[in-house]
């Protein structure tokens, strides 16, 4: 019984080491510890503090707009900026209409709540028009930032698809994903395998989609690896573009989706599982309509 316990302990330690070892380098590749925070759809959230701004503002009074920013995504945010757009300065004059905010860490084991920041805009209200009873100033709060996204999954490759007695893994022609912990997500993966007698190649078609509440603007594929080796990828439709633009996916306002196509040669032999990794950076913009009310 004592021997059984010793063998079990050693086995568990070895398995843990093995699993950690398969994770690859920590800086760019996915880590198992980090992975848990990189699932689903989450993004930067912005909330006004109660009474900042106040529900009603009186003529010739000062007011503050204070907002809390929380990075709920599993990735850091940088180059962040908040803008107030559309207020008529005849009624509400802000000291500044835009502010940069510091880089916000993404959620992780060591910072499970994500990075936070507080911004404050100070303003001055002026008088109502003539004998108006109130004035409603509609405006947009716009947040813009840069962030990144990692996609990683274990896939099965098999160059000998018609081998009946292959006891390895089973290839999945299509897989869907709920998200990778960011507003931008790889939503699905199509795997098309050309067997050895037809060239022995695999093609991955990854659908990249904005599932957040804002708009993704420029999505760039910065790294693609299959089993730790670089993978040749390009954005669908960018075949004729210069090399530096082949990796850039420009999202239009109403077309918040694109496809990345990657190809790799298959090794001969039995089926095997390996890791597919794609790393993206993207610019993101979020807008929300608010109002200030000036009353008598």
């Amino acid at each position: 019984m004592k021997l059984f316990a010793q063998i079990t302990s050693v086995t568990l330690i070895l398995m843990l080491l093995l699993l950690c070892g398969c994770g690859g380098s920590s800086s760019q590749g996915p880590g198992i510890v980090k992975y848990n925070f990189q699932t689903g759809i989450s993004e930067l959230t912005l909330k006004f503090l109660p009474n900042a701004p106040p529900e009603k503002i009186y003529p010739f009074s000062g007011f503050k707009m204070i907002m809390d920013l929380e990075n709920q995504a599993g990735y850091p945010i940088k180059n962040g900026k908040i803008r107030v757009v559309g207020l008529d300065e005849k009624y509400f004059l802000l000291d500044q209409t835009e502010q940069d905010f510091e880089a916000l860490e993404g959620r992780s084991m060591i910072n499970p709540l994500g990075g936070r920041a507080r911004l404050e805009f100070s303003g001055q209200a002026f008088q109502l028009f003539s004998s108006s009873e109130q004035y409603v100033g509609n405006y947009f709060l716009q947040a813009s930032y840069d962030s990144n996204l990692d996609f990683v999954d274990t896939i099965c490759l098999n160059s000998n698809m018609y081998e009946v007695y292959d006891s390895g893994c089973k290839t999945m022609p299509k897989k869907n994903y709920a998200g990778q912990g960011a507003p931008l997500a790889v939503a699905s993966l199509d795997q098309i395998t050309y067997p050895a007698n037809a060239g022995g190649e695999v093609e991955f078609r990854l659908s990249v989609r904005n599932k957040g509440t804002g708009k993704a603007e420029k999505v760039t594929l910065i790294k693609a690896q299959l089993g730790g080796e670089d993978l040749a990828c390009e954005v669908a439709g960018n075949q004729n573009k210069p090399a530096e633009k082949k990796m850039i996916l420009t999202f239009e306002d109403k077309q918040q989706e694109g496809t990345i196509i990657c190809r790799a040669r298959l090794k001969e032999g039995s089926s095997y599982s390996t890791t597919l990794y794609l790393g993206f950076t993207y610019s993101y913009r979020w807008e929300q309509k608010y109002r200030l009310t000036l009353v008598k």
């Binding site: 803008r83 008529d88 109502l128 028009f129 009873e133 109130q134 405006y139 306002d253 309509k289």
Partner: protein, 657 residues
């Protein structure tokens, strides 16, 4: 008889005539007779008669026969009172009533008597009236009470009792049959009022915005001829129906064309009926406002000219007629003079300016506009009996109620005017107003006071001058002139500068800006519902609020009268577009006036709106030229003016011995 049967008869008659003309000899006679007998009853007799009399030529006979029948028909028509009324009604409409009020009135009285005769005869023929005496009693009562007594309340009671008693006796004597005719006689009396212009007065009294369709009905309806149409015989006994039918059709066509002309889009503009002291004056005033060409004549001329666009042709003719009338009657210019030609040109320009619609709307955030009202209360002495021993002057109090939420300081001057009623020649004189702020407000007269509070009510007295002795019925017109009233309008615009397609898709194509700042899609200027508002708009078009860089920008404005009175002066106006540059134009003076002006000339006539000069904006202020995102900004415009409101009251003063 329906229109269809009349038309059918006409067609059949024509067919009969054609068939008869085609026939020769016996065969022709036979065919002509057969067709005329079976198909064309209206002309059948003529056709068969002609066929019988002409041994060798049925066709010739038919023509002669038809001619004879027409001659006989015309003679019969002239024997028919309703047809005579129809013709005389047309003469009255087209000629007599245009010869002045007196002739119009006498002609109408004569026609009333004749029409009563015709109508009672028609009702008797129909079996609806058995005894006409009651009708004549009612007519006599009406003529005495309305024309001799002047339609007073006392007269109604006095003559009403006398004639009522006579009518009662007649009713009893005729076992109730005389009363039917008494009621029937009211019908021609109704037409008498219509002819004099009662509708004009009604519209004026209820202060209605008169639609053109109704104004045309008032102005272009020969009422007596219309009554005659009712009285045309419907039975074929008189052999007249084949002639009466086309006349009826013509009358229906006339009414349709009148209404059709009225329904042509944009022909003229609805006009407020002006005040009038009597029915004919009211009608005359309505006519002054609608000096267009009779739509019937316009339609006919356009058809004969072979114009394919009849509606456009009618519209052009109407406008030309209105312009000509305006230049003659309002500007008092002689035709065929250079001034007259210039006047016509100015009117055309005015129309074109009117087409540049700069609309404005009420500011929903301002619940209380500046208002003024003239009120007569229970202390107003509408009927006063004065005995010789009474040694005082009757004063007529008028309350001026002012709502002034912005606490503007402006001067109110009140005047009054007495007009004698019931006389053919209206006699008018000014009253003397007292009770103002002469003592407390420097420089003010007895009839003036200053407004400066949020709500203010002042009662002043209107006195008749010492050299006038009131006796009888009068109309008092109270006039309050508000000097230097100020109204501010505001307009919102969005400036985007130069933006790429992606930005435009996000913010403009998606309507994000419009949904946020113009959710009700009102791009017009707004202002409180004061007496007047200055509507202004600028942009790449007047009715679109998003302005880009490097595109031409137009600015248009107008002063709109939205109150119940008249604008008597516009002292100055200013559209506050600080930092905007105006593009110079050949007429530099009017060009610069597009932003501000003083002592605006008041348009003559009953026009409500004053169009201000427009211009092109050549450049925007620096901060609006190319913002990083967009800039939403509000602009103001201000107008300072005098405004006049009126109130009329009827009074009666009886001097008793």
């Amino acid at each position: 008889m329906g229109i269809g049967s009349i038309l059918g008869r006409g067609a059949a008659g024509a067919a009969g005539k054609t068939a008869a003309s085609a026939g020769t000899g016996a065969a022709g006679k036979s065919i002509a007779s057969s067709v005329a007998k079976n198909i064309a009853p209206a002309l059948g007799k003529a056709a068969s008669g002609a066929g019988a009399s002409a041994a060798g030529g049925a066709a010739k006979g038919v023509v002669w026969g038809a001619g004879a029948a027409v001659g006989e028909g015309v003679v019969n028509l002239l024997k028919q009172e309703s047809f005579v009324l129809f013709i005389v009604g047309l003469l009255h409409f087209f000629w007599l009533r245009n010869l002045g009020n007196t002739i119009h009135l006498y002609s109408s009285i004569a026609l009333l008597i004749f029409a009563t005769y015709v109508f009672l005869a028609y009702m008797a023929e129909k079996g609806s009236v058995a005894n006409k005496l009651g009708g004549w009693i009612v007519l006599l009562f009406f003529l005495i009470w309305y024309l001799y007594n002047g339609a007073t309340l006392d007269g109604l009671i006095y003559f009403g009792i006398i004639f009522g008693a006579i009518l009662l006796v007649v009713t009893i004597a005729t076992k109730g049959r005389g009363f039917q005719s008494a009621l029937a006689a009211l019908f021609p009396i109704l037409f008498f009022f219509m002819d004099l212009g009662v509708l004009s007065l009604v519209f004026k009294e209820v202060d209605w915005q008169l639609a053109k369709i109704f104004s045309d009905l008032i102005l272009y309806m020969p009422w007596w001829s219309l009554l005659a149409l009712f009285c045309f015989p419907t039975e074929d006994k008189s052999k007249l129906s084949s002639f009466m039918g086309p006349v009826r059709i013509l009358a229906v066509v006339y009414i349709v064309i009148i209404l059709g002309g009225s329904l042509i889009p944009s022909v003229g503009h609805d006009t407020l009926i002006p005040s009038a002291g009597s029915l004919m004056t009211a009608q005359q005033q309505v006519q002054e406002k609608f000096q267009g060409e009779n739509p019937f004549i316009s339609n006919m001329i356009c058809i004969f000219e072979g114009r394919s666009d009849i509606s456009e042709c009618v519209k052009e003719r109407q406008q030309t007629a209105e312009d000509t009338s305006y230049c003659k009657s309002v500007e008092k210019l002689d035709e065929n003079t250079p001034q007259f030609e210039q006047c016509l040109k100015d009117r055309q320009e005015y129309r074109q300016k009117q087409q540049v619609q700069v609309v404005g709307s009420s500011d929903p955030t301002i619940k209380q506009p500046t208002r003024a009202e003239l009120i007569t209360d229970k202390f107003f002495p509408r009927e006063v009996n004065i005995y010789p021993e009474d040694n005082y002057q009757v004063q007529y109090p008028i309350q001026v109620k002012i709502i002034n939420p912005r606490e503007q300081i402006f001067m109110v001057e009140v005047n009054c005017n007495f007009t004698k009623q019931g006389s053919s020649k209206p006699e008018s004189f000014s009253g003397i107003v007292t009770g103002g702020d002469k003592l407390s407000f420097p420089g003010a007269g007895e009839n003036q006071f200053a407004a400066g509070y949020v709500t203010q009510s002042r009662t002043l007295y209107c006195n008749y001058p010492d050299n006038q002795i009131l006796n009888g019925s009068y109309k008092i017109t109270f006039i309050a002139n508000l000097s230097n009233v100020n109204t501010v309008s505001r307009l919102s615009r969005v400036f985007i500068g130069f933006k790429d397609a992606t930005w435009r898709n996000n913010w403009i194509t998606n309507n994000k800006i419009l949904d946020t700042h113009f959710s009700n899609r009102n791009y017009a200027s707004v202002s409180p519902e004061d007496f007047v508002r200055l509507n202004f708009a600028f942009g790449h078009s007047s009715d679109y609020p998003i302005i880009e860089a490097n595109r031409s920008i137009v600015l248009n404005s107008m002063i709109e009268n939205i109150g119940p009175g008249e604008i008597t002066a516009v002292h100055d106006y200013a559209i506050k577009l600080s930092g905007f540059n105006i593009q110079e134009s050949p007429s530099a003076t009017s060009n610069m006036n597009c932003l501000e002006g003083r002592d605006v000339p008041m348009p003559k006539g009953a026009r409500k709106d004053i169009y201000l000069p427009g211009c092109l904006i050549s450049s925007l202020p620096l901060d609006l030229t190319n913002p990083e995102m967009y800039i939403y900004r509000e602009f103001e415009a201000e107008v300072n003016y005098d405004y006049l409101i009126k109130k009329e009251e009827s009074i009666r003063v009886s001097r008793l011995s």
